[in-house]
């Protein structure tokens, strides 16, 4: 899988993990018209920050899937226009900083979170991961 696609799927999964941590606040943040941000440090401590609040969650399950240590991740989201959210994510890996940007339909993404756990979070624990990765690849433009 190409690196840019891998990074975009990571961004989607981080949002899903934040929703699993606190669904009501996370939904308010990601559905708001304002900007919001996800940051992760090298120990996997992740934060979703927006006007509606802050959610701290464990980003390690997603970082481990990347297959390389990440020093930090910083993703800014904004421009929610009819449900389409634009994003720019920056990943520091070793001596390299990788930047990806794009847009996605927030409702399509949170559709996978209608149950107790988001699909991606469940998939981290079973064999349906490849299938969900393919779905997320389609959502994250």
């Amino acid at each position: 899988m190409a690196s840019d696609i891998k990074l975009k799927i990571t961004i989607a999964k981080l949002i899903e993990l934040s929703i699993d941590e606190n669904k009501s606040v996370a939904m308010k943040i990601v559905r708001s018209k304002g900007n919001f941000r996800v940051t992760v440090d090298q120990d996997g401590n992740a934060k979703l920050t927006g006007k509606a609040g802050i959610i701290a969650f464990n980003g390690n399950p997603v970082l481990e899937e990347l297959g390389a240590a990440v020093k930090y991740i910083s993703i800014s989201f904004g421009g929610n226009d009819n449900g389409t959210v634009k994003y720019t994510g920056s990943f520091k890996v070793g001596f390299a900083t990788l930047v990806v940007s794009g847009s996605f339909d927030i409702e399509k993404l949170v559709l996978g979170c209608s149950g107790i756990l988001c699909v991606a979070a469940r998939a981290l624990k079973d064999r349906s991961r490849v299938l969900r990765d393919r779905e997320l690849q389609g959502i994250m433009q």
Partner: protein
Amino acid sequence: MRCKYGVFICFGSFLFLIGCATQLPVQKQDKPGDVYREYIGSLSNSSDEDLLVKYWSHARVAEGMDVLTDDSEDNKLNKNAIVFSIRFPNEMKNILSMEQNIKGNTACLLVTGATDTEKKLMINIPYLLEDNTWKINEVFIKYLEDDQPVPTKPDCTMEIP
């Protein structure tokens, strides 16, 4: 009048000779773009350690060598990160353009191209002049969206979003 011009010519020649005598010998020095092309050529037949020592700055060698030589399971992800950094040119399958800015002992090289999935990407590489050789100090890789223009000027001050 002839004598007056003669004095000027003699004096000018004298200064020229002094200048030549005090000038340091000029050494041929490859530019960052040349070094980068050589680096790409070395990727397939050089070890990670050799690439790090030959092409990266002293600071990165000091930081990366211990990680590369530690084969413990606990260090696997850290090692993968350094190996990915060293082999970063592999992200770009085709090079479209190269531009460089050199200011004293620092330089910025912009390489634009495409990934193996035809995605546009740009790589800005800050270089440091160490031991009379241009060494890579960091790498900024940006995957561009289809509607994003491909930059033409090097920019090694990429801001974190």
